[in-house]
């Protein structure tokens, strides 16, 4: 059974009440401490941060909003997370006969790639899945489940490092990150010096559509292609993601607002009103699988889409032939100024097989393995050798191009992570504004 949050190990700058009580009791034997007792009576959830919290905080970054226990990473204000403990030593042999515990999103890694790793390292594997990041974090926090690798999004990295749930990486075990992966991820803005993360997959958020109903020229010829979602011609067959950040970000981008982490109530309200107008115009629906399942099946003609969803959507067409695959299209701004994101792989602090886990990270950074995984899940790895220009012409293990040539917008470029807009962690106050806007949209 999970322990009560207040009983969990103390975090940076905080102390659990039980711990305080224990310490107070011990101290009272020698020297009664009124301060400790007072703190023991403190209101749950309150933290005691000293004036030097920033100096002793879990990381270094220029954007540290008031009330935040750690700096927030932005593309223009990167964060370097401190090493709260030493990484494992170099040159250790991987644990033999171990079971590699993988904690990942559902259907997000090809077991063939994992099996090949296990064959090479003489181990077995166990994949446990989570449905959303909250669920993932909740299980990680209990400390009861001991995973060797975990796939978080960069926007929860601050929580994971501050909570001491991740262990620093020993780079000597992961040489392929340096040799094979994009320069951008040698030191990403959310984890300068890649102390805790390696990149897993990169993707953009654009619009998926049926090419047999909407010619490519039509959507690409529009002055503001986001407006196709408001086209009443497709009423009842238009969808957006059931995800408050993605949906509202689309509302912002449609209005030309490019700060996808804005805390400006006016902008958030505008995005909300934009989404509400979508209900009235086309009776928009929200779904999380509408892009890769709904478009191939004809449930949706147009759906907000992650590039990876559309790359993999051909696997879900009712009939498997080139003609049906050609009905799938994806649009992303040609100047690449749209929503971009990536996922990461990390090693939890309590991993039982940390050396094996390091080798697994390296395995996934290796060109051959990363591309094999891409074949199956559709989410592109940031590999140097996978020239985005050739992804539409090179065949994958399935015998088809990694990305169909009529979907060039679904290819992710390294420059996207310099000109695109990243959805990053918000302060609780700003996050509340976003949530309120989303609830207002849903109850409109």
């Amino acid at each position: 059974m999970a322990r009560h949050p207040k009983e969990r190990p103390a975090r940076q700058g905080t102390m659990t009440r039980r711990e305080v009580l224990k310490r107070s009791a011990a101290a009272s034997l020698a020297l009664p401490s009124a301060a400790a007792l007072l703190e023991a009576c403190a209101k749950p959830g309150t933290t005691t941060t000293s004036s030097g919290a920033h100096a002793s905080g879990p990381g270094v970054g220029r954007y540290w909003p008031a009330g935040s226990p750690y700096p927030l990473a932005r593309q223009d204000t990167p964060v370097t997370w401190k090493l709260w403990r030493e990484p494992i030593k170099s040159g250790l042999a991987p644990e033999k006969g171990a079971t590699l515990q993988i904690y990942n999103w559902a259907d997000y890694i090809w077991t063939k790639v994992v099996k090949q790793f296990c064959a090479a390292y003489n181990c077995s594997y166990q994949i446990t899945t989570f449905n959303n990041m909250d669920e993932g974090l909740a299980k990680m926090r209990t400390g009861q489940l001991q995973f060797d690798v975990f796939f978080p999004t960069p926007d929860v990295l601050g929580k994971l490092v501050t909570g001491k749930l991740l262990q620093p990486l020993n780079h000597s075990y992961i040489p392929h990150l340096v040799s094979d992966v994009w320069e951008t991820y040698q030191s990403p803005f959310y984890d300068q010096g890649w102390h805790y993360t390696v990149p897993y997959a990169v993707y953009t958020t654009g619009i998926g559509y049926r090419r047999d109903l909407i010619p490519d020229e039509q959507i690409r010829g529009m002055s503001n292609p986001y407006e196709i979602l408001w086209d009443t011609k497709y009423k009842g067959k238009i969808g957006i993601y059931d995800d408050y950040r993605e949906a509202l970000s689309m509302g912002l981008l449609k209005n030309g607002i490019t700060d996808l982490n804005t805390g400006n109530p006016k902008y958030i309200s505008k995005a909300q009103q934009t989404l509400v107008s979508l209900i009235n115009a086309v009776n928009v629906r929200t779904s999380i699988n509408g892009a890769y399942l709904g478009i191939p099946k004809g449930t949706f003609d147009i759906h907000q889409a992650w590039s990876g969803d559309m790359v993999a959507a051909w696997q879900y067409t009712p009939t498997q032939n080139m003609k049906t695959w050609q009905t799938l299209g994806y649009w992303f701004p040609s100047n690449r100024q749209g929503a971009v994101f990536n996922d990461t792989i990390t090693i939890p602090a309590n991993a039982q097989n940390p050396v094996l886990a390091h080798h697994f990270l390296d395995w996934m950074m290796t060109y051959k393995n990363a591309m094999l995984n891409f074949t199956w899940n559709g989410y592109q790895p940031p590999q140097r050798k996978a020239d985005p220009a050739t992804l539409t012409t090179t065949n994958s293990a399935y015998g088809e191009p990694y990305v169909f040539p009529w979907m060039p917008d679904a290819v992710v470029f390294e420059k996207d992570f310099h000109v695109g807009y990243f959805e990053e962690e918000l302060t609780p106050q700003v996050d509340q504004l976003w949530h309120n806007a989303w609830q207002a949209f849903n109850s409109a």
Binding site: H4, K43, G45, K237, S443, A444
Partner: protein, 320 residues
């Protein structure tokens, strides 16, 4: 002066030892805790699986969130409770959420009414006219429980697709000239989904009760000159009122919290129900206390039909 009744010396009341209750059937004496003891497992069950979790929900609603992880941090000591989230959500409940609340009530009332009409007819038929096939009918009534609710709804999603069988039949029979997009946020689809999902829960209790109605009472009604319809209205229906109320409670309460029917069959904000708001809050980072407050609102609201049911049940017992 003669001693009056008031002036008599007071007798000292002797406190008799408390007698153990005597079992009327066997005449045996049992310790006082004996019969209440049988309620102990149920009481422990309720404490462990209802009251304690309910207190956790209250502690979350009046608690706070973890400053780092933004996960709900229940506060078990009432003196530390904060009404911040309660006030915030009350503002929403009396403002922006009003349309959703009204919609939820309308959907549930409609779905329950349709359920009642269909379920009563089915239960009545099986109870009165099932004959030798009662067992078969019962098996058919229980059959939906063998398949998970989610799977049944997903099968409807396939059937209701624009190119699904429902549209194929409708267009083939020229009932509609072109396929209807049933899944595009159509309130009718959501209400019928609720009916389909919950109707078995109404048929079974109704059948159980109707099957036990004493036939002689119906025959008495007929002997006194009442028509079959009048006998049904004046005898069967009043007799089955407790079952109707019970089945209404069984079906209505979960319908108010239902979110997946709407998620699967619509997904449109136009058909959002209260359960969807709750689900949204539950799945969102840092919104745990808000979700708990919404749960409390729902519970308070559902207490109204529940109390009515309890009152009616108590009244019926008194009348017997």
């Amino acid at each position: 002066m003669p001693d009056g009744p008031d002036s008599q010396p007071r007798r000292r009341l002797r406190v008799l030892p408390r007698r153990r209750p005597r079992d009327e059937a066997s005449g045996a004496w049992y310790p006082r805790w004996y019969w209440p003891g049988f309620a102990l497992p149920g009481t422990l069950w309720m404490l462990a699986l209802f009251l304690l979790p309910f207190y956790v929900v209250i502690s979350i609603a009046f608690g706070t969130v973890d400053p780092v992880f933004q996960s709900p941090l229940p506060v078990y000591e009432p003196w530390w409770w904060t009404s911040r989230y309660l006030r915030e959500e009350w503002g929403f409940a009396t403002g922006e959420f009003r349309a959703v609340e009204v919609r939820t009530i309308v959907y549930v009332v409609l779905a329950t009414a349709i359920c009642l009409v269909i379920a009563y007819a089915v239960a009545y038929y099986v109870a009165r006219f099932g004959g030798k096939r009662k067992g078969l009918f019962l098996a058919l009534l229980i059959a939906p429980f063998f398949i998970s609710y989610l799977m049944r709804m997903l099968s409807w999603v396939e059937l209701l697709q624009p190119n699904g069988y429902v549209n194929s039949v409708l267009t083939f029979l020229h009932i509609t000239p072109h396929p209807i997009n049933w899944l595009a946020g159509v309130p009718f689809t959501v209400v019928m989904g609720l009916v389909y999902g919950y109707i078995p829960y109404m048929i079974l209790p109704l059948y159980g009760f109707l099957d036990r109605i004493d036939q002689s009472q119906l025959e008495a009604g007929r002997d006194l000159g009442a028509s079959p319809l009048r006998t049904f209205i004046r005898v069967t229906l009043p007799l089955s009122k407790p079952a109707i109320l019970a089945s209404l409670v069984i079906v209505t309460l979960p319908m108010f919290g239902d979110y997946y029917t709407n998620n699967l069959l619509s997904g449109s904000p136009k058909t959002t129900m209260f359960g969807n708001l709750l689900d949204n809050a539950m799945e969102a980072t840092g919104q745990g206390p808000e979700a708990a407050v919404l749960v409390l609102f729902l519970i308070v609201f559902l207490m109204i039909p529940m109390l009515y049911y309890m009152r009616q049940t108590a009244k019926a017992q008194r009348d017997q």
